[in-house]
C-alpha cells in the first residue's frame, strides 16, 4: 500500500509495506496517484518527464521501497505479563471535568491501595512474568502521591524481590503535581524511570478544566512544583502531558507555552469524553488538522533556532523503532499489560477499571480469566478490519482498545475521530523527519 500526501507544500510518498518515505515533486505525486486509480489529471506531464518518473518508480520498486508486500509477521502472543498499572489511589485532590476516572473515584468509593495489596500485585507480576527480565510498574490514580508512602514501600519491595529473581523493575508515576514537594521529587527522581506530569498548557486553558475540590483552578498550585521537578530531572525521562478539548482547538499555543515554560518533553492528547462542551467531534477535525500543521511549523522553527523540544506524537521512527511483530500486536492491554485497582482486582487496563464485565481476577486469587485474556491477546492489527486500508496501521497498531470499546462497542473497531487525528499527526511527523534529515545533510 502506498500513501501519497502533501504536507506544508512538500509532497511525500509513504510505502506502508516497507516503511520507506520518499519526497517527490507535485507531478510525481499526481502520476503515482493516477497509477493507483485515484482521481489525478496527468495530461500536462510530457512523455519525456513521464519516462523519468517511471524510471524512478521502477528503481524504488526493485529495491523493495515502493509497493512492497505487507508483512506476514504474526503478533507476539506471549503468556508473560510484563507490566502492571497499579491504581495506588482511587481518589484525587483535583476534580478535572474530563477525567475518565470519574475524578479519581472510578465510579465507586474513594479508596487507597494498601501496602499488602501492592505487594501482592508485585508478587503476581513476578510470578507471571516468565522469562521476561525487565518488568514495569506504573503508579497511577486518581493521584498516586496521595498514597505516597505505599508508593515508596512498594518500590523498595519490588526492587528487593526482583533482585532475588534476577529481574529488574522500571517504574513510572503519573501525577498532577499538587503534592510534588522537595522530598517527594527527590524520591521520584531517583526511583522513577519515567514521570508523567499533568499540565494542560496556558493557565486560562488549564484552569477551565483542572480544578480543585472547591472549584478553583489548579495552575498556580502546580506550576512551580512541576518546574522544580524538571529542573532536577537531568537527562532522565519525563513527559509533561496535557489534554486538549473542544475549548482549546488552538492547542499549538499550549504546546509552545509549555516549551517556553522550560519543559522540553511534551505530550498533548485529544480529550476522550462525551461531555458536550469538551468532546471532540467530526466538526472539529479540520481545525485540529490545521492546528497540527501550525504546531509542525513552529516545531521546525524552534528546531532551527536551537530551541527544539520533543513532542511525543512527532517522534515517528521509520528506520528503527519496534519490530514488526510488536507493530502488529496492538498495545498489549489485557494480556501483557494489566491494571490492579485498590482492592486487588485485575482489569485489562486502567480504562476498563471498575467495569465488572472486564474483571479478570484478583492478585489475591492469582489467576486470570482465560476468556477475557484470550479476547485481548487475540486482538491485533489483523483483527481490526477497518485498519486494513490505512497507511498508518504499522505506526498506531489499531489504536487504543479501550477507546475502541467505549465509542464503538468493540476493542477491534477503531474510533474514526481518533484515527483521523492520528493520520494527520503522522503526516506532520513524516514531514518533520524529512526536514530534519535535510538539515542534518546540509550540516
Amino acid at each position: 500500500m502506498v500513501h501519497v500526501f502533501e504536507c506544508r507544500g512538500h509532497y511525500y510518498i509513504f510505502d506502508t509495506g516497507s516503511s520507506a518515505l520518499h519526497e517527490c515533486d507535485e507531478k510525481a505525486a499526481r502520476l503515482l496517484r493516477a497509477r493507483m486509480g485515484e482521481d489525478a489529471d496527468t495530461s500536462d506531464i510530457s512523455a519525456e518527464e513521464r519516462k523519468a518518473y517511471e524510471e524512478d518508480f521502477a528503481e524504488l520498486e526493485q529495491g523493495g521501497l515502493l509497493f512492497a508486500p505487507e508483512t506476514a509477521v504474526r503478533p507476539v502472543k506471549s503468556n508473560e505479563v510484563k507490566a502492571l498499572c497499579l491504581h495506588i489511589c482511587h481518589d484525587c485532590n483535583l476534580r478535572c471535568r474530563y477525567c475518565f476516572a470519574d475524578e479519581g473515584a472510578y465510579h465507586s468509593r474513594r479508596e487507597f491501595m494498601s501496602l499488602e495489596t501492592a505487594k501482592k500485585a508485585i508478587d503476581f507480576l513476578i510470578a507471571n512474568s516468565g522469562n521476561r527480565r525487565v518488568l514495569e510498574t506504573d503508579f497511577f490514580g486518581g493521584e498516586p502521591l496521595m498514597n505516597f508512602d505505599v508508593v515508596k514501600q512498594t518500590v523498595y519491595y519490588a526492587k528487593e524481590e526482583a533482585s532475588k529473581r534476577g529481574k529488574e523493575f522500571r517504574f513510572t508515576l503519573t501525577t498532577n503535581g499538587l503534592l510534588l514537594k522537595d522530598d517527594v521529587a527527590k524520591f521520584l527522581n531517583e526511583e522513577m524511570d519515567n514521570v508523567v506530569l499533568s499540565l494542560d498548557g496556558r493557565k486560562e486553558v488549564h484552569d477551565v478544566v483542572r480544578k480543585t475540590a472547591n472549584g478553583k483552578g489548579s495552575f498556580d498550585l502546580v506550576i512551580e512544583n512541576l518546574k522544580n521537578f524538571v529542573s532536577i530531572r537531568g537527562d532522565k525521562s519525563y513527559y509533561v502531558r496535557g489534554t486538549f478539548t473542544a475549548k482549546n482547538l488552538d492547542f499549538s499555543k499550549d504546546v509552545l507555552f509549555l516549551a517556553d515554560s522550560g519543559f522540553d518533553s511534551i505530550s498533548l492528547e485529544p480529550v476522550v469524553t462525551d461531555i458536550e462542551d469538551l468532546a471532540i467531534g467530526k466538526e472539529h477535525l479540520p481545525a485540529i488538522a490545521d492546528e497540527y500543521d501550525r504546531l509542525c511549523d513552529a516545531y521546525l522553527s524552534r528546531m532551527a533556532e536551537g530551541k527544539g523540544f520533543n513532542f511525543f506524537h512527532f517522534n515517528v521512527d521509520l528506520e528503527g523503532g519496534p519490530c514488526l511483530a510488536k507493530r502488529v500486536s496492538a498495545c498489549g492491554a489485557g494480556n501483557e499489560y494489566l491494571s490492579v485497582v485498590p482492592n486487588g482486582d485485575i482489569y485489562p487496563c486502567h480504562q476498563f477499571a471498575g467495569d465488572s464485565e472486564f474483571r479478570m481476577g484478583s492478585v489475591y486469587e492469582g489467576t486470570l480469566d482465560a476468556a477475557i485474556r484470550e479476547k485481548f491477546r487475540d486482538s491485533c492489527l489483523f483483527t481490526r478490519k477497518k485498519c486494513e486500508g490505512c497507511f498508518a496501521k504499522y505506526i498506531c497498531s489499531g489504536g487504543c482498545s479501550a477507546n475502541n470499546y467505549h465509542f464503538n462497542g468493540s476493542i477491534d473497531e477503531p474510533y474514526e475521530i481518533t484515527c483521523e487525528m492520528m493520520r494527520k499527526r503522522t503526516e506532520d511527523a513524516m514531514h518533520i523527519l524529512a526536514e530534519r534529515k535535510k538539515r542534518e545533510k546540509r550540516g
Partner: protein, 53 residues
C-alpha cells in the same frame, strides 16, 4: 534517481518478536497509543549496554 529522494529506508531488523520492549501504555499518553514511536529495547541495549543492563 533524479526526481524522487528517499528520506527514510527501514533498517533490516535483526530481531523480531522477542517481547523485551516496553508495554505501549507505559509511555506518555495513556489514551493515544502509538506503537511506532517507541524504541526496540533489545537494540537499545545492544547499542548502549552500560545504560540498559
Amino acid at each position: 534517481m533524479n526526481k524522487i529522494q528517499t528520506i527514510a529506508r527501514p533498517a533490516e531488523k535483526k530481531v523480531t518478536g522477542c517481547g523485551e520492549c516496553r508495554s505501549t501504555c507505559q509511555s506518555a499518553c495513556k489514551t493515544s497509543c502509538t506503537v511506532g514511536n517507541q524504541s526496540c529495547e533489545r537494540i537499545s541495549r545492544e547499542n548502549d549496554p552500560e545504560k540498559n543492563n
